[in-house]
């Protein structure tokens, strides 16, 4: 799979895909002889994982550490801890989101009452 196909499939620009690889957010992608990237299933799965994490707002730094540990096939405890830490953050974020959505619901209702009367 070429980089532009992967780009299309996951909605990530080719620039960003190369950037992710360069900084170690995804492991090195297999290449053809001429140096052109040829994403296999494993590489795609990494892209998919990173896309999921990033669009939830997981930071790049901890992900880089995680990816490096998986590559080196070590640090199982540490890897689990990274996942636990990130999940904790996302849970807190979800809670904050809930609160703010409630507030917005309340405010929007207020406008709903007000607008028909005065318009």
């Amino acid at each position: 799979m070429t980089i532009s196909e992967v780009s299309q499939k996951y909605g990530i620009t080719t620039d960003t895909l190369r950037y992710y690889e360069r900084i170690g957010l995804i492991p090195p992608v297999p290449r053809r002889k001429n140096g052109i990237r040829d994403y296999d299933e494993k590489a795609c799965n990494w892209v998919s994982l990173v896309k999921c994490m990033r669009s939830a707002g997981v930071q790049i730094e901890p992900l880089i550490e995680y990816v490096a540990l998986v590559q080196a096939d070590k640090g199982m405890e540490r890897r689990k801890n990274i996942l636990l830490e990130q999940r904790a953050k996302l849970l807190a974020q979800a809670e904050q989101l809930r609160t703010t959505i409630e507030l917005l619901n309340y405010k929007i209702e207020h406008y709903e009452e007000w607008l028909p009367k005065n318009k």
Copy 2:
């Protein structure tokens, strides 16, 4: 209320409070004769609102527009739309968060199974 009291109350640095005011994210705060800010209840409520929105990830730009409209006491329709737009974004974000938390749950479980056996 002084700026440092407000800072403590909401967990926002004084620098950030001044920054927010400067860019119009909160309306001008009342001052004492010597120019020192004296937050009244209204000002505090703005801080509280902005804190809530910002910690949920609502962008500054739309909030500035919203605050300006409220200040000018106009654009009710537009104001409501801003709130609707932001709520829609937060709902989408909440959904993405849910997906990613699920994925993390799954992965963490996997480590939970694996670790006791091999450690």
